[in-house]
Each structure stands twice: as C-alpha cells, then as structure tokens.
Symmetry: C2
Subunit: 470 residues, 2 copies
Amino acid sequence: MKKIAMIALGCALGFAAGPSVAQDSALTQDIMDHADALGKRALASSLTEDVITSLTTEVGHRLAGTANDKKGRDWALAKMTAMGFDRVWEEPVTIPLWHRGTASARVTAPYQHNMAIVALGNSIATPEGGLTAEIAHFDEYKDLVAAPVGSLDGKIAYISFRMENTGVRGAKGYGYAGQARRNGSVAAAKAGASAIIIRSIGSDDNRTPHTGSMNYAEGVKQIPAGAISNPDADNLDRIIKSGKPVTVELNMTSHSHDPVVTYNVLGEITGTDDPEKAVMIGAHLDSWDLATGALDDGTGVSIMMSAAKHIIDGGKKPKRSIRVMLFAAEEEGLYGAHEYVRAHKEDHKDFDNTILGAEWDSGTGRIINFAPGVGSTSLNVVREMGKVFAPYGVSTLMTNSAKGQSDMSALGNAGMPAINFGMEPTNYFDFHHTPNDTLDKVDMPAITHNAAIYAMFAYMAATVDVDYKK
Amino acid sequence: MKKIAMIALGCALGFAAGPSVAQDSALTQDIMDHADALGKRALASSLTEDVITSLTTEVGHRLAGTANDKKGRDWALAKMTAMGFDRVWEEPVTIPLWHRGTASARVTAPYQHNMAIVALGNSIATPEGGLTAEIAHFDEYKDLVAAPVGSLDGKIAYISFRMENTGVRGAKGYGYAGQARRNGSVAAAKAGASAIIIRSIGSDDNRTPHTGSMNYAEGVKQIPAGAISNPDADNLDRIIKSGKPVTVELNMTSHSHDPVVTYNVLGEITGTDDPEKAVMIGAHLDSWDLATGALDDGTGVSIMMSAAKHIIDGGKKPKRSIRVMLFAAEEEGLYGAHEYVRAHKEDHKDFDNTILGAEWDSGTGRIINFAPGVGSTSLNVVREMGKVFAPYGVSTLMTNSAKGQSDMSALGNAGMPAINFGMEPTNYFDFHHTPNDTLDKVDMPAITHNAAIYAMFAYMAATVDVDYKK
C-alpha cells in the first residue's frame, strides 16, 4: 500500500523541535520505532567486533584471486548462512591476478641505505637481478608529466610529494597525491625512465610503505613501480638535497598471471512485499596482502553483516529485500562493482531492482552525517530518516548529490540512487594499504555505532514505500 | 686555586628566592655566567639538529663491528676534528660480531598468517630450511622459568607479555618485560624448546618488531630467538585462545662470527690547569641495523658533540678537560664501556682521572631534572649547578645516588662519580630497536635544549675546582 511522501520540512531536520511528523509520511512511526529499536539492539551488541575479529584472525588477508580470497568468501558464505540470511550466493567476476613477489631498494650512492619499499599492485618486475640507476627527482606528479621524452632515459623517476591527511578530496589529500601512484608509471615511461619510485601515499611516519593499484597504458612501455615509506622518502630527499648524483638499486619480482574468476558474495534478507527489489548495503571483501585488511575493509564487512543480523534478530522483515553485498577485487579497480553493473544491466536486465545503495569503505571512523543522492520527491522521506539518526549523533546534510562511495559509486554512476555516510576524521591514511592494517587499529565502539546506523538505515529504506529514483 | 665548597643550601635549590650564593663557592659567578652564555648559545644554534641529520643521512645504521660501524667512527673522527677539538682518538674494543641474516615466521595452523619478526641480537639460526613446531604459550618470563625440564621438547616457546610504557624501571616496564628477551632463550632451552618467540619489548602497535640483545648460558643448548610485532602477538594470542593447537614455521639465518676489534671514539677539549683530569660526557655511537639509530643513540651523539662545540666556540677553556666519549657496541652489552673501565684501570692506571661522567641514551626526551651521584662534600657545589639549570626548566633532585646511565653505569659502578639527567616522558619505546628509529622521530627543539644543558654542565663541572669523589 502506497502512502504519499510527506512535504519537505526545510532545514529543520535533525532537531526534535518543530512540527510533528505528518501522518501521511511513508516513513511511519512504526517503521521509525522499529529502526530505533534496531539501533539500540546494535549498540548493546558485540557482534560487529566479533565479526571483524573472526575475519581478521581466521582468514587474514584477502588478495583478490588468491587462495586467501577464496578462504574469505567461504568464511562469508558460512557466516551469513549461520546468521540466518534467507539467501546467500556468489556472482562471478573475472579479474587480473597479480603476485606481489619480493621488493627491495637500496640507495647505493652517495650514501648507502636500505629502504622500506613495496611493489604497487599490478607492477611488473625489474629485470632479473634488479636494476641500478640514477634518480630523477620530481616534486610532484604534474612535474613528471611535464618531463620531455627521452629526458629520463636510463633513470629511475622518483616523486617525493607528501600527501596531507585531509581525506580523499583535500587539495593535497589522497586523491591528488594518488595520481603519482595510479599514473606515475605511464608518465615516467613516456619520458624514458626504466622504473618509478614514489613516496608512499600515506600520512604516517612508519617504515611500513603503502601499496595500492597502479595502471599501465596501451602503447606505453611497462616499467616497475614501487612505493617507499615516508621516513625513507624523507631520507632520500635529504640525500638529493646534497646535490650529488643519487643512485638506487631496485629489485622487484612482482608479476601478473592470466585472469582468474573470483566472486562477489551476497546475502539477502528477503522482503515481504516486493522481494525482487532490494536496498544494498555493501563493503569489499578483498584486501591487500600486507596485513589482515582490518580497516580496509574488514570494518565495512563486519558493519554490513552485523547490521543485517540485527535486522534478522529484530523480528520484523523489511517489505523489500536487503542485500549485503561483499564486493570482489575493489583494490584492483572496483572489478566486482563494475561486473555487477554489467551483469545486472546486460545479462539479468534487473539492475533497477537495486533501488538504493550505501557502502562503508572508510575504516574505523564514527559516522556523523548522512548524505542522500535520490530523486527530488523521495528526498523528503529520506531526510525524515535523518530524524531517527539524529539522537545517534548523525546529522543529515542538506545536499542531494551522493553517488555512492567506493564500489557503490560504480552503481551510483550507473543510475542507482545512493546514500553516503560521512565520518569524523581518523588516521585511516596512516595505515591504509600497509602492513599496519591490523585489528588493533579498529575503534570497536565506532564500528558498533556504524552498524547501528546501517541497520536502521537498511531497515527503513527497504520498508518505507517510496521510489528513490523519483 | 682551590676554593672552599659552599655549605648546603638545603632544599631551596631551583628557586631564585633565598640567600644569595656564598662568595666562597667554588662555583663562581664567572663560571655560572659563562655556562649560561653557553646555554643561550646552544639554544640559538641548529648544530644539534645538523649533527644528527648528518649522522643518520650520511652514515645510516652503525651495527657494531660492521663496515657501517667503521663509517660511523670515521664520520665522528672527521666531525670532531673539523669542530676544533684539541684531541680526537680511538681506543680498541674487542666485540662479538653478529650477522642478522633473514627471519620469517608464519602461523601454519589452525589459521595461516605471515608474522613480522626480527632475530634478537646474538641469536643463532634455525636449522637450514627452518623449523615448524607447536607453540607453547607463556604469559610471562617467570612462567617459562617454571616450566619443567622436558615439558617443551620439540616446541617453540612463546612469551606474550606486553610491556607498559612506564619507562625502564616501571613494574611492567622495559626492564621487567625485557627479561623475556635477554634470558628467555635459556629458560626455554632448559625446558627442551627448539626455539623461542617473544612479543616485542615495545609499546607501539606497528608491525615493526623490536630487536635487542639476548644471552646464551654456558652448558645450556643454544636455540634461535626472535621477536614478533605487537599486532602479530595480539593475533597469535587470539589464535591461541581458540584452544586449538597452534603451529608456527620459523626460519632464521642469523649467526655469529669470530670476535672483531672496533673502537670507542673520543674527542677532548683540553683543560688549562689540570688537563689529565676530565669530565666525560658520553653516548654510544653504535646502533642496531634496522634503521638509522636516530633515537638510539644518534640524539646522544649529536647532543655531546654539539655541546662540546658550543664550549669550544664559547672561547673559554675549562680548567680540566672535557671528553666526549662515543662508546662502542653498547647494544651488544656495553662492550665499549666495560673495556674502557678495564683498560684504564688495568693498563693505563688512570681511571680515576675520569672525574665525573654523564651519558645521554634516552632518545628525544627533554631534560627536566638533574640527579647527582657524587661525594658528600662536593654535592653542595654540584647542587649549585642546578641554579644555573633552573631557568632552563631543569630541577635538581635532592637524591645523591646516580651511578651513570647506559654505558656510563659501567664507569659509575667502577667508582666514577656520575650525573643522571632525567627527561619528560616520551614514546621512546614505540621506536626503540625497530625499523622506525629514524630522524623524523627526533624532537629537534628538545635535543637542542639537551645540548644546552650538557654544554653548561660539562663546562661548569670541568672548571669548578672540586673533587667529586669527596
């Protein structure tokens, strides 16, 4: 039975005072009360902590396409089955398979230092036995891009830019600095370099360098690419400042194999009224292989699975389905997400049944705001949900441009309405993609809070009778 | 010319108010004024920063007996010569030579995890190809000591005790926790173990395990010994709690060579009146090999060398000599210090000419107090020095039991009067003996402050006419 979505409340949302909720709202008091009960249930539970502890302790890393990836999927299937999901399944995704191998780097002149280095994901190896070459230093990616063809012949390009901990979108933050990692090898190869080393894209001062995916381009020579830790980059920068030629010996054995098939893992709480339609809450199950992928994205996996379990235990089924989506091969470039879009648009023709999506791939930050990206009519109902979140310290942003975070952005960009949850600042980029991404870094009360928010959100979004595209 | 040491001021020291300094004090206003000028000179200088930057950038690690140890000594000799020391020389020390080799450890059952591990200094290798054995877990060292003979046959002993950051002497601090590292292998071997793994003796949560020296005992089988990082120990503890047998594969190639000769490095500002007698300010030049030994003990080296340089540049020679002592092979067990005591007592018969000593081997902590360990007559003069330190935020402790810190304790225990400088709490044990002991961890204003204190101290102590034994 359809109800008329209530008229906008303007900017008064998030405050208890003001006109009472219109009786004709699609978001009934019953729905809101049950959502609040789910939130309280989640906050009183240790489940989110238990799930991430189990994943990181029993499985460990989950590098896409490896035996550990399979272990992670088996763990997720078994866990969701045991939790009482109505349906648990996998959907295939073909991905590149990359082997990290070993990596070492050593300054050989004018001074001698071993450096802490990791291969960037997708990098080829150095020639057997390694290569030794003079360093060509660039302050940042755009300077390397400007290097003339041939100017780096026989040299190792080095980008020393240090990211600032201003989040993904800050002017000197992860997104900007990350150009060096993602595209530096192409720019360096175009100018003739035999390899590229970058300062880790990370905000810490540990000798635990940050890996992450890098790209090659058609028609441009592939060269090996590695990242050194911030303290090693500091030291290299000091040596470069001495003005003497600096040479580095680099030895990497990383390499790619033929593509393999892995799987997105899905678990469903089947809706009572319109089960084909589903709200998707997601995270990525894969991780890099240097640690146990606790922050990236064990927290997301545990938040989604525990949020769903609280809904199951809450005893009221949603009207539409809730799908927990554990994406495959996010780290290599959102492979699982892109394949979901492709398969459900082209093969199954049911992409529109994924009516709304939200992901968590933001580590251990406590959710403090809620940003919709829905149709202008449904926006009012979505904003009403914010009233239920408000007592939990989550404010509703007055924007309506969310396209989904991480994997979910692939679905958002393909037309799915989306929600982005924002968080308080964290030291995520101290640990992201490093050997330090381990369970001790997780703020258990914060992720328990987040599971409460996701449980409330998923239940309300799947139960309220509204079309998020409208 | 001797002056009568002034009578004790009781407990009023460190305060500007109170009776004026007795005119008959050995510590004349001239000496105090010049010391204060040296302190101000030091605080206005970047020299302490420059010296530690040069050492860590140009030399790197200084593992005793290695080529890098030699590089460090050559650097120190050249630097002190260039600084204008009156005399710079080396004194031989025979030390064990140990090679770190490689170390890896992997949990193989019931789950699989690579662990971040380092060999403990002096450890032997595992059998070629490594060993795989069940873990026998102990909460702490004393529990392992209590293990019956034969109870660990064919097992790897594991001590999970986590140190608390309460400094060297705290109830669960470095000294207490360190028993596992220093003597765990002997206890484990007595009970039949084939190897020992300990949780790192460190207060951080980085996957940068802490090395440090360990001992074997006559008549007890030597077994390999390694330390895993705190996050790895946390994970191993969780696996052990599952109650299933836990097996670990350990592979280490560390080994000892025949003893070699290295050297203590000394630099002297020769005294005007009684040059044979010297105040010694010291630090250890050697370091572990995992990083550049910035905190341990690059800070001490730079503090001592820059303090002396400020005295040289200050233009007033001390009456007795000031010796900067850069000890050899502290990490392996104060080899340089012990040999100094032996050689100067037995060979040169001049040990008593080292009239007072103070070391810095405490990283980057700002000096906040000054603790003497001198004769009861000279104590009053030494406490008067505290008045000069007071405006610099350094209080004088009313104890008189200092025996010297680190290497200097070997001299203090052999009868040399000593001074201990105390510091504000730091995160020293987060980085100590790890790959993270790099220049970025150094608080430059703090070590500049410390150099000011050492410059003032050394000048006053060498110039004031008093016998610290009396």
